[in-house]
Symmetry: D2
Amino acid sequence: MLIVMKPQATEEDVRRVCRKIESMGYRPHPMPGAQRTAIGITGNPGPLEPAEFDTLPGVAEAIPVSKPYKLVSREVKNEDSVIRVKVGDSKDSFVTFGGRELAVIAGPCAIESREQAFAAAEKVRKAGALLFRGGAFKPRTSPYSFQGMGEEGLKILAEVRRQFGLAIVTETIDPENCDLVEQYADVLQVGARNMQNFSLLKRVGRSPKPVLLKRGMSATLEEFLMAAEYILSEGNYSVILCERGVRTFADHTRNTLDLSVIPAVRHLSHLPIIVDPSHGTGRRDKVTPLARAAVAAGADGLIVEVHADPDRALSDGYQSLFPDQFAELMAEIAAIAGVLGRTTAQSTTGVRGSGLGVRG
Amino acid sequence: MLIVMKPQATEEDVRRVCRKIESMGYRPHPMPGAQRTAIGITGNPGPLEPAEFDTLPGVAEAIPVSKPYKLVSREVKNEDSVIRVKVGDSKDSFVTFGGRELAVIAGPCAIESREQAFAAAEKVRKAGALLFRGGAFKPRTSPYSFQGMGEEGLKILAEVRRQFGLAIVTETIDPENCDLVEQYADVLQVGARNMQNFSLLKRVGRSPKPVLLKRGMSATLEEFLMAAEYILSEGNYSVILCERGVRTFADHTRNTLDLSVIPAVRHLSHLPIIVDPSHGTGRRDKVTPLARAAVAAGADGLIVEVHADPDRALSDGYQSLFPDQFAELMAEIAAIAGVLGRTTAQSTTGVRGSGLGVRG
Amino acid sequence: MLIVMKPQATEEDVRRVCRKIESMGYRPHPMPGAQRTAIGITGNPGPLEPAEFDTLPGVAEAIPVSKPYKLVSREVKNEDSVIRVKVGDSKDSFVTFGGRELAVIAGPCAIESREQAFAAAEKVRKAGALLFRGGAFKPRTSPYSFQGMGEEGLKILAEVRRQFGLAIVTETIDPENCDLVEQYADVLQVGARNMQNFSLLKRVGRSPKPVLLKRGMSATLEEFLMAAEYILSEGNYSVILCERGVRTFADHTRNTLDLSVIPAVRHLSHLPIIVDPSHGTGRRDKVTPLARAAVAAGADGLIVEVHADPDRALSDGYQSLFPDQFAELMAEIAAIAGVLGRTTAQSTTGVRGSGLGVRG
Amino acid sequence: MLIVMKPQATEEDVRRVCRKIESMGYRPHPMPGAQRTAIGITGNPGPLEPAEFDTLPGVAEAIPVSKPYKLVSREVKNEDSVIRVKVGDSKDSFVTFGGRELAVIAGPCAIESREQAFAAAEKVRKAGALLFRGGAFKPRTSPYSFQGMGEEGLKILAEVRRQFGLAIVTETIDPENCDLVEQYADVLQVGARNMQNFSLLKRVGRSPKPVLLKRGMSATLEEFLMAAEYILSEGNYSVILCERGVRTFADHTRNTLDLSVIPAVRHLSHLPIIVDPSHGTGRRDKVTPLARAAVAAGADGLIVEVHADPDRALSDGYQSLFPDQFAELMAEIAAIAGVLGRTTAQSTTGVRGSGLGVRG
């Protein structure tokens, strides 16, 4: 059930509806929009009676929602969500996902040392990226592979933020681990293998930090959106979706990047979606063409692996761009963004995004 | 590196090799076999020098291991592993996975009430099953679906064990939750969506209870075995693999059951493998034919959903067998097992399995 | 539209309905059943008016058919179709597909020489197979691979029939080629790559010979049945379906054998379905377990590659069974067939199959 | 084996090598390049001795070729192939595939009437397309679906060429049918379902007309290139590859468009590759984003379904663009092409393409 308020409804009207929902034992999710507020209801075991609500003051309509996803859907919130991420340590500086600007996250697969992280950070910052990626906890197929530096790596990331004014995107791998990671990260990343780790989804849903949710290797669009729904249903509405390739029979890339999911998400959901062409292809020479393609297909940003010295990387070096390649990529996607009436985020100060983004 | 001891090697010879490995900073995994003991080494960053070991007393051979999986592989342990599960509350009564006998786990998808659990338990026990399945914690695609009864459900399962003498197989969904579940379960189930939840794998790897590990929806055989390797590398060697269907384009079943993985696992690993035809097909009318097929392909057992009243089940009722169908299935698989020189476990007392199973 | 005649309807009643259909510009397909005749209509651009037909003498019902497949469906013909194939050169000796008996087709992938064909034929005949497979025209991924012996190979197959009393199953690769192949074959095989070669389907649909139709590598069940529908719609109702594995991400076998398609076909269609575990797995050590599984899942037969000397085969030798392995397989599937109340066809004379098979 | 000639080698040197190859019973494929000629050899059963050739006058090198594809590979011909297609009925007017310019093919799925074809042709010509698509023979999943107008449709296509100066791209469905289609088409299309119809591949390989080869629904890159190899090995080097989506578990589009195949083809082969976003997505609202993405990923062109009145189309109307949408698409891809240093072909006269294209 979705309660759509009238444009002229008052704050008190909204609160009254919420109280009503709570009194029935369910959970209200007020979502203020540009024109008017909508209120999602979760926790109800079955369909509700519209008449319970549409007779209350300020209510325009009570719509039974048939889709399994509610809070992530455009039925509940029609305007694009614009997720703001604080950049660096200054207060009024941030980057947005889901507005006119494309956000680019770049950095190494894993943090391997202070030196390595700083070398990469300097390069990606110089090329114009405002967000830095790098894993301190790495989910690895083999128990014998490098599993990340742990908290040591998180501390290096914190230094990167201070030194280079970059926002930090890093992965959290289980609920307990999240307690630690959210102290350091600006954006919590949930990896593809954990897309249906529901305990973790609930945990990041209670975090104040935005969440970057990667699509699982064999997740349908519905499952992907339902995973995001888990996070929103716990109260965290700042979710950035990320396509990173799905598993198919094709063997010329590690995964098959499914760019059609971009317009498909846009159609169904208000959440922003970015693309990871590094894991999506698994090979350096395909990263740039597919990154360009992602932007042309309408992605709200990219997450790209860049290593100052890829051949010495401890993990996934063969899919990391060289710094020069990344700088070239930034120039190309800026040009393509322009064709779609968008720009790439380049500066780090000033209020950006109105909370109600317009997409090309 | 794998150290193969001579048949006549003494206990002290084995201990000496283990001490040597520990002194190098690695971890020894002695695995006693019928003829002789093999010792796996984990924790080493790269290849070791065979000469360090094959000059020690009692050592037959030091074999460099090239495959990414070690402890799960037949190179490390050639004989089939036979996993013993205590049945009911008596001490010397158990059922085995991986030996001559087929083990059948049956019961409802989720525990919904004491009444429902008891009704199912009575039926499956009567039809000859010795292990009872039923989820108290359910990983569900939607946050709004029934998520299980929680500890209440576990308590009902404990009653089922006492009342019917059935061993309990139930799912654990995150490391913290495992603390609770392992107090009640005889076998800890790790679901398909958690096959690469490495934090959970490590946690169950430190449990004294056997683990039923389901294959992920898009897991390759190597990834499946590496997930098991995580568990073994933490010291728990009692892992039962379970094929439950993979995700493909085919839309006449919910998943495509990949029975060819049975001989493939058998070739590479000493671990037992069973099949879940309920989730593997998602439709009641296909469960029995595919269950028969699994046994004919050489599976070490089955896990089957049975509900005393499937049409009223809160989850996945359409794939649960009626009790009569299950009884018929038990008769059919007993006959097919006979063709392969195997039997279905029928009684619950007496020492069964020699620790070194022989497969047909 | 499907016209179901009354049990007591006369031949003339049936002819009258057919004339009516023809007079409307469509095509009637009378299909005599055990109890009564049904008449399918094809060629109509859209739904027809039931009242046009159910007022005619002898008509019980005129049923609008909603499924895209008509002639292959159980709605049109409820009884299992039993396809009879003449065995050897004697008149009253045949083998059936779709009845109580399982039919086994065996032989080398490609005919390479008279000597090779005879060696294989002798072995498979001795082990109890009544149908011989062997390609004279081979569709090969590479234009530089051995493409088969052509008509020379067909002549050798004719000799095999005379010498060993085996029915010949061999592939036809295009409509023109079918003119030649049908002179030699007892069963025309349409390969997986040609499952949607509609020109070829129409051509074999006009042949008097039964057709073995292999499922395409990425064909859904509906596409598979619609390919068969092409053949039936041209008037040839003797179609044997064959599952041979589908393409998935899984890399431990060449294809993933989808045995769940057996009960799914059985539910929707009256046509028999057999399984090819050789192409379905691509590896010798998996052929026998999957062949057993296919029979246990309810397959009406098998097509298996057997080579007297697999290591010297010009194509696909690594998936061919040795003669001894095949003999053992025949014994195992006979035992499993027994569990399902079926038998394997063993002798070559006597009228077998009533036209209205009963399946276990 | 590949014979690379010296830059200064004479015509007679090339002929001498070819005669030598023929005398050995094999087939020479001289391929003149910008700098020098290479000569492929096919028909040899196994590796040849380099010394047989590299001692002949004018020969720089004799390279053993290990890949299964030869003639399509960059090892044999390093420069991009530029395929020229005559446009309209004038002699010196053509469009190119594989050079700096993008080629766009547009038109309805099937030719339904002269009126419908002309309406679409006028619109797509006006928007800047130089090639017209439209099926006269349609391979359809159901035998009861509209199968195309046949030769009547081809005649309408010929009128479209005369009237609008558009080159005609249309599908041929079997070898015999090709005799007819090649009289009317400027480019012969081989559909996805026929990608491994080897009889058809051989037939179009003997045609003087360029061939548009669509990737099969589950074809690996190697199989795709080998299908092209069949065509080249018969002497027709004018092959345009076309990605049209592959079959995966994802259900939000009809197929999953695999744009990573573009850089992958570019790396291995000299042949041009275009993209079909209409069949690749199956839904109108995803055609434009994916078409832009294809160009950004480096595609050499597009084939797009445009219907003057999609809602009335007899086949696949829901994936056809409206004329206005197509005009907008043309503007967008021209802008994106500019970012990559390419242009969209806009005029129809003058010699375009040097035979040695340069790609951005």
